[in-house]
């Protein structure tokens, strides 16, 4: 087991290096540069942009820049943003808590919705409840978040005027009011993301439970005279959850990237909105760092899912 983890981690290193090379090349080939606004401003002498390019090493060939970037990255130096001249690690750390809070809550909400609804649907398949739940789930994951987000804003903020739609990471209040304000502003982004995740997950839970609930050992449990509650919760759901857990683990990096648009709509100062503004500003070091973190997350959670799978299902062994 330990050997397996080590081996997987070692394989991850060349994978990540490859990803970073591809990213860097694509960014270098993409049009635009961080000092574009300077170049089009008639009041800024051309020498300024040239001096900045030189100072930040942008005039060197792509390979030289890549090797330099990779070298300092390997030593834990993420570089600094060309646009704000702040260290990239500072920028990311400033935004990580907000992202984690919103995404974590959304994922939790998704699971809380999916588990009971999916299970109930599977226990009574093709009942009215199942039909309604299935329809809603389809609607839920067919509607993209940028659409539901705007719909929520129009309805809850503008029409009803209940909720604010501008997310502020630091609220100038203390005690209960702080909690209240935070909850109020988080409702919409969390709901949009959580419902989307929950919808897809509901379908998955339903089919997983459906597969298990027809098996003989469930009949045995019922025949033993166990109550329906215990049969479903202890015997069926527990076994059905094995693939679900893996799915949730694999989903987490996707949530990070999928939340980019939701963060933009609600002005949530998370990693995603940092990524968008950096892309718009051609701020290579920040884009590199964030996309690299995302790809790191994918690799890490893949490994985690594999390990979890083995832990939940003893039939699987690692070699």
């Amino acid at each position: 087991m330990f050997k397996y983890v080590i081996r997987r981690l070692l394989i991850a290193v060349p994978v990540l290096a490859g990803i970073s090379l591809v990213l860097f090349t694509i960014l270098a080939l993409a049009p635009g540069d961080p000092f574009e606004e300077l170049a089009t401003n008639p009041n800024v002498p051309r020498e300024v942009a040239q001096a900045l390019r030189k100072q930040f090493g942008l005039d060197d060939p792509v390979m030289v820049r890549y090797v330099r970037w990779f070298g300092s990255m390997a030593q834990g130096d993420w570089g600094f943003s060309f646009v704000s001249r702040v260290n990239v690690s500072t920028l990311i750390l400033q935004r990580l808590p907000t992202s984690l809070f919103v995404l974590g809550t959304a994922q939790l909400l998704g699971i809380l919705i999916a588990l009971p609804i999916g299970t109930l649907s599977a226990v009574r398949p093709y009942s009215l409840f199942d039909q309604v739940a299935t329809t809603l789930a389809f609607v839920g994951f067919s509607l993209p978040t940028f659409f539901t987000g705007i719909l929520f804003i129009l309805f809850f903020s503008i029409y009803l005027d209940w909720l604010p739609f501008i997310y502020r990471a630091d609220i100038g209040a203390a005690g209960w009011r702080w909690w209240w304000e935070h909850a109020r502003q988080a409702i919409m982004p969390v709901a949009v993301l959580g419902l989307f995740q929950g919808a897809a997950l509901t379908r998955f839970v339903r089919s997983a439970v459906l597969e298990v609930i027809r098996l003989d050992y469930i009949n045995t449990a019922r025949a033993k005279g166990l109550s329906e509650r215990v049969t479903v919760v202890k015997h069926a759901v527990r076994n059905a959850l094995i693939p679900v857990v893996t799915l949730v683990a694999l989903q987490i990096p996707t949530i990070f990237t999928g939340a980019v648009i939701t963060e933009q709509i609600f002005r949530v100062p998370g990693i995603g909105s940092l990524l968008i503004s950096s892309i718009l500003a051609n701020d290579t070091p920040v884009i590199m760092a964030i996309t690299f973190v995302f790809s790191g997350l994918v690799v890490l959670f893949n490994l985690l899912a594999d390990i979890l799978y083995g832990w939940l299902d003893p039939r699987i062994t690692y070699r």
Partner: protein, 598 residues
Amino acid sequence: MDERELRTLIDDVKRGRLSRRRFVQTMVGLGLTAPLAGQMLASAGVAQAQTKPAAYKPSKRGGGGALRTLWWQGSTLLNPHFAVGTKDQDGSRIFYEPLAVWDPEGNLVPVLAAEIPSVQNGAVTKDGKSVTWKLKKNVQWHDGKPFTADDVVFNWEYAADPATAATTNGTYKDLKIDKVDSHTVKVTFAKPTPFWADAFVGVRGMIIPKHLFEPFKGAKSREAPANLKPVGTGPYRYVDFKPQDVVRGELNPGYHMPNRPFFDTIEMKGGGDATSAARAVIQTGEVDFAWNLQVEDELLKRMEQGGKGKADITPGGNIEHIQLNNTDPWKEVDGERSSVKTKHPFLADPAVRQALNLLVDRASVQEQIYGRTGIATANFLNEPKRFYSRNTKYEFNVDKANQILESAGWKKGADGIRAKDGVKLKLVYQTSINSLRQKTQAIVKQAAAKAGIEMELKSVTAAVYFSSDVANPDTYTHFYTDIQMYTTTMTQPDPEVFMSQFASWEVASKDNKWQLRNITRWRNEEYDKLFRSAETELDPVKRGALFIKMNDVVIQNIVVIPVVLRPAVAAISNRLKGAEQSGWDSNFWNLENWYREG
């Protein structure tokens, strides 16, 4: 009324033969606003009337609660000398102040200066080679240190040092600043400079403290801690800054103007999109002020009905215009197309240019596309009003265009496209991807087809089109098409920099990596001469006449076809007072005067 008549009138006021009020009334009768007429008198050497005190009502400092503002792009840094765009300048302006600011009419208003220098008070020398600024006394930095002439001199040293790579470098590099006494500085120019109010004024003139930045002058400029934690003289003190997200400040109890500021805290939030920013101010009232709303006017109007705020539309000089290429974009000479060594096959014919000018239906473009956010105009130079030419007019007339082309020998072929000597009137019309621009393209194309000119529409994504990428042929500076359309911005109330884009030494070409500003590659001796004389003309009235003449030369030769003026649009809550915008300065140019009513 021409220049001479105007001068006679001004002279009359000077000698007391004509009352000041009478003069202003005459000018208002001519369509000028009263402050502009006042400005004319002031710049011509007639003492300014007592400026009316700004209608600032609060009678004590603070107590206004929180001021919340929204920019759809957040500030990235808070050092005004590194500011890249409006968002950075505005973020810095919360904490830092210049010596003087530009009000909406393009007049100077003192902030850190004790008074505005002028020829009358002797602070501006008659030869235009130096200006002396008297600084306000008893101004303190947020950390309690006094603000003195040393700070002002330091800002010049800091920005003028090429190693600092300050974006304000162009403003300061050719100056010399001397400290006269602890609260007086003298700015000396290398040559007579009519527009002396660039250094230390407006967005490029914010003053940073010497005692915090001195160790970080030059190559180490990136490392200064105060780049992210500003210490200024402004109405609000630094609290928190997260790049591209939020700038927060709190009331500065030692601010140098009485009873100001009104608000206890200020927040400048970034991100999101322009439409929802407008909603947050106008519809829900969640925010008091939102910046630069590039939102269709129809939508703004709908929001304004019964809303909590309104759209504030401020005239400025930014102009959406169509450029006609003077060179041949399809022939390659020495490794570049649109080379000045070539001549455009048919746009070189004045008749074709006149026809095109008649085929752009500006009134419809304004009416159907831009509404209040784009005003049809015949002039390239429109603002400030004292530079506005009344000698030009625009017209939309397909029949006349047909006649002109016909009599110039361009005959319609079997395919309906006009041709002459084997050259067909087929051209490529390029712009950036933007729904407003694509609609404008369609209107022009339709009219052109009626006159036998075929237009192929090309739209390039903005990131490429406006980039300075030397290798990409689709940037606006390469101009590898026959005609193109975009907005040129005018950032100062003085048109010198703005009008330099038609000077022949500014032609963009491969040699200068397409970094110079004359994109149309138009070269004209008369224009060059006018520009050269305006550069050193110290008489403001004569100088104004020179710029008007330059505009007329450009319009008469149809170097470009102006389409619409693009005023700045902000959203302001109905309860927020004093937040009137100036087209010539930061959005926060008078932040200290903002207050809330009701």
